[in-house]
Symmetry: C2
Subunit: 146 residues, 2 copies
């Protein structure tokens, strides 16, 4: 299960008639090298820092494929652009965000599966996932709102 993301991605690509390339491999590896939230330009920078030449266009394109495959998820918009995280091999979780220092705390809550189930039943939806962000002020930032 863990470390298996390459096989999952290759299967996904094969199923869609897409190809496995060194660029896609490099992006996949970098995305799964750290557990953190990142954006496209940062990912591009990291790859270059490792001496791997993957164009900006290919980074964006591969990121799209990774999201489509379900290995990676869009987490939130900050500073006017999307941020991502790898999700394959990790428990589903949500994000608690401090409006002051912008710190992000990951959390799991047992109530969410119930919410999904109720919605599926009430609206005849085939629910595939959800995104929950909770906002507020962390202990350190409380009272600095002005």
């Amino acid at each position: 299960m863990a470390g298996d993301e390459e096989q999952v991605f290759r299967n996904f690509l094969a199923r869609k008639g897409r190809r496995w390339t060194p660029e896609r491999k490099a992006v996949l590896r970098e995305v799964f090298a750290h557990h953190d939230h990142f954006d496209a330009e940062e990912l591009h920078r990291r790859l270059r820092a490792r001496g791997l030449t993957v164009s900006r266009a290919s980074v964006y394109r591969t990121l799209g494929l990774l999201v489509e495959s379900g290995l990676v998820a869009e987490v939130f918009v900050e500073d006017g652009h999307m941020h991502y995280e790898h999700v394959y091999g990790h428990e589903q979780h949500s994000h608690l965000r401090c409006l002051g220092c912008r710190r992000v705390i990951e959390f799991r809550d047992e109530a969410l599966p119930g919410v999904e189930a109720r919605l599926a039943a009430a609206h005849h939806f085939q629910v595939t996932g959800h995104k929950l962000e909770v906002y507020g002020w962390c202990a350190a930032c409380q009272g600095k709102e002005g």
Copy 2:
């Protein structure tokens, strides 16, 4: 409480040393004229259609102020840009989105206040709000995933 948004906005502006102008009034009125989800350009178009001349810049600026005041909320990103809704005078709700036809269903779930409360306690957060989106396929769109 309902229809009170003008007074709330004027108070908000006064408190921040900002001014009440015809342009801000026009934007506020248009935002509260319909209950739907909209984007900045659409709002601008609607104002022009009414014969009101408010520049694009002022639309974006006023939208920012409305969000800051809490009268309006950012709901989701679609087609690469933000969508909004007025929230003042309405019960808090979340959004169920069909990945096929992009239809949006509003819903309320009793579990959410509990989630907020548990997070506040566990992380010493002063929680101010949350945003929940649930994704899936509506009855009409199921099986068209390809």
